[in-house]
Symmetry: C2
Subunit: 292 residues, 2 copies
């Protein structure tokens, strides 16, 4: 990762400089948010920090309002949107039932074609998902902060109308950023409003879901199933009841894998380095007040 991002900076016309001189910091290690204050304290010229992730909830306490922060939001969105389609199809078309089978099964399954899809969050994942499903005849509802119409969606509603938007969905896609406002919104009450054959796909963050409520809803048949690329806790520990529920498909945060993501964040670093040098607007700006 270090080599690839160094190359991206150099391609953009940037220079790799010691901490005492550097104006920008490309923060390459997603797991090392705690080390940021020590680094920043040694960087008197620092004005811009590029973060490596799309969701920056582990970093928000370090945000300094005098600096500019950019993150990976949007850049990983296309492969994550592909993973949403993967999990939705694996759910609706009963792949979770057929994979472990060792005998010819009853012929079951439903279409994503023409389904009602409700997307929670109006960011890059929603944008790419709408595009990937363009010819799939889906009826798409986007739930976002404002009710400003989301391009390509049939209906856009504010978060206050979440439960109405859940009630008609065949597939609910959680693609929110994690903020205090969205934490735990997918709880027993939310599952209770969903159709009993609807699938929940979570590619946002595990903490959007109240896990115990989800386990209860799956066991009771309140919803049709869940495709979870993020979990709470994450990693999901061995022995957790979710592992034993057949219509819970759990993938280990692979909406974008490291291999998929590296060229994408390198492209973001290259673009932002070039724009930073030229004094042009940066891409993926963090809004410190919103926390994403």
């Amino acid at each position: 990762m270090h080599d690839v991002l160094t190359a991206a900076v150099l391609r953009a016309g940037g220079t790799i400089a010691p901490l005492a001189d550097a104006e920008g910091l490309i923060f390459a290690d997603p797991g090392a948010a705690a080390e940021y204050p020590t680094l920043a304290a040694q960087m008197p010229n620092l004005t811009w920090v590029q973060l490596p992730y799309a969701g920056i909830e582990t970093f928000t306490q370090h945000l300094n309002p005098e600096l500019t922060y950019t993150c990976g939001k949007g850049t990983y969105a296309e492969p994550v949107a592909e993973h949403v389609v993967t999990l939705a199809l694996a759910g609706l078309r009963d792949i979770w039932k057929y994979v472990p089978a060792t005998a010819w099964n009853d012929r079951t399954g439903r279409n994503l074609l023409g389904a009602n899809v409700t997307i929670l969050g109006g960011g890059g994942i929603a944008e790419h998902l709408v595009r990937l499903l363009e010819n799939w005849r889906c009826e798409i509802t986007v739930v976002r902060r404002s009710d400003e119409p989301f391009p390509g969606a049939h209906t856009t509603v504010p978060t206050s109308e979440l439960h109405n938007a859940l009630a008609t969905a065949d597939v609910v896609v959680c693609a929110w950023a994690l903020t205090p406002e969205t934490t735990g919104l997918l709880d027993a009450a939310a599952f209770g409003t969903m159709k009993d054959d609807a699938w929940l796909i979570n590619v946002g963050r595990g903490a959007h879901v109240v896990t115990d409520d989800l386990v209860a809803a799956l066991k009771a048949g309140t919803i049709g199933g869940a495709g979870l690329d993020v979990t709470d806790p994450e990693p999901l520990p061995s022995g957790h009841p979710l592992w034993e529920i057949p219509n819970a498909i759990i993938t280990p945060h692979v909406g974008n894998t490291p291999e998929m993501g590296l060229p994408l964040i390198a492209e973001r670093v290259e673009t932002n380095t070039r724009n930073f040098i030229a004094g042009q607007p940066l891409i993926g700006l963090v809004d410190p007040a919103a926390g994403y």
Copy 2:
């Protein structure tokens, strides 16, 4: 099925008539090809037969060149194309590995986005698959009888160039009609030309594949995996070695399930009944010489 197809005939302005009077026969039972000669012998006015399936290989020996036959070809193609995407994503993104897991896994998986997709057959499934993948940046090659460019494909090649078209594919989609020319074309030699991480998706017919060669190729790692909605033999018997191969995803001929297919064939019956009454061309005409 009988009620739904009767309603379709009536909606089109047709009349349900006894065998002695009827000019058309809507053949509703996919499993009853053997009963056709007995029925036809009691129908002196018969000029048109509507068959219920897309692939008519069980019916070809009954075709009478003096009559017009139509089948379901094309009408089931959209859900089958959706199933191709399902199996391709379940393969490339390692859903076959994650579904049986009971612990957090290594983060692996590949994209269908931007992949090389080779489609065998230039019929309705190819047409819908190209459309569903329109925004997925795939490089699509279609292998068909002629090399007449297939709409939406980047490359179209004749069947004689099959092995070249297999060699570059990340995903090979078998969507041929079953004819003597295509039977067994996916054999050890074909698998030997494929990339060792390429997935074979079969939604054509089981007999396009030499099953023993496929089992050997999967065990040897000659190809990356197989998503099979059709098998030879079909149904695949319990105890068959394919059931034990983790990267062979077997679904029980659910490209279209009976629930998905019934409204689609009803629409075909309605259109063809209306056209038959009006003396207009019928849809899904069988070419007795080609056998599909």
